[in-house]
């Protein structure tokens, strides 16, 4: 259940539309009062949501054309934080398959989850009946 001031987005699960989510996050954070280091906070949440959604497109839906991604954005108090709740009805996420990137030599895969964890204060995943739920939290 979203809070009264939550921003709710629903997108087709395709890379083509993910810039809508990041543009919306940027515009949303512009209107939140007293966000220190606003540029960094905004970019961090945009990138974390982008990575989450790209993983949903590539892995949870894995080529299915009719998938949807549901995103809820809200501000919470004490401690003040931005929360992005992301839902999809694709396959469950399997944490064991996520690889840590080789940061010393560079590699082509594995940066997505790494960046999510680096940029957010909290990243949680849970499997609900028939759908996946990611929660990203950024304190400010």
């Amino acid at each position: 259940m979203s809070t009264p001031f939550a921003v709710v987005l629903e997108l087709p699960a395709a890379h083509r539309y993910l810039n809508i989510a990041t543009a919306c996050i940027a515009a949303w954070i512009e209107r939140i009062e007293d966000v220190p280091d606003r540029g960094m906070v905004s970019y961090a949440l945009q990138l974390a949501v982008q990575e989450t959604c790209a993983n949903i497109v590539d892995h949870a839906y894995a080529g299915a054309e009719d998938g949807r991604i549901h995103i809820e954005l809200s501000v919470q108090a004490e401690p003040r934080c931005l929360v992005a709740e992301i839902y999809d009805a694709g396959r469950p996420f399997e944490p064991g398959q996520a690889r840590q990137p080789d940061l010393e030599h560079g590699q082509e895969r594995g940066y997505g989850l790494f960046l999510m964890n680096q940029l957010m204060d909290v990243v949680t995943y849970e499997r609900l009946p028939g759908r996946n739920h990611w929660r990203l939290i950024k304190h400010f």
Binding site: N19, G39, A54, L103, E104, R109, Y111
Partner: protein, 110 residues
């Protein structure tokens, strides 16, 4: 006449859009074309890249590996945007790649 002539072909690729999961395949395809034409040295100017995600980073690493395996290299130019610079530092791209402040500085290294 004692002449010493050297020809170098270095591709300078200036990216002005976000590099994300949607348009990374197009960038990769353009870079593949250059590699197929025999170019192995690249300067990727990221000055005006407003947003870079892991799919975009994968394209950069892929190019680096292929260029180096052909005895070439890839140099980057730092994005102007501080937030994008931070991502390159978090992922230690500033250790994997040589990153310069300007195109001219990037070219000097070759």
């Amino acid at each position: 006449m004692n002449l010493d002539i050297s020809l170098y072909s270095i591709a300078i690729v200036v990216v002005r859009d976000r590099i994300d999961a949607f348009n990374a395949p197009e960038l990769r395809s353009r870079l593949d074309q250059l590699l197929a034409e025999g170019i192995t040295r690249f300067v990727l100017d990221l000055s005006d890249v407003p947003f870079l995600d892991s799919a975009g980073m994968a394209v950069l690493v892929n190019l680096l590996k292929r260029a180096r395996s052909a005895e070439g290299d890839v140099r980057l130019v730092w994005p102007k945007r501080e937030e994008t610079q931070r991502i390159l530092r978090l992922t230690k791209f500033d250790r994997v790649f040589k990153i310069a402040e300007t195109q001219a500085a990037a070219l000097k290294g070759f």
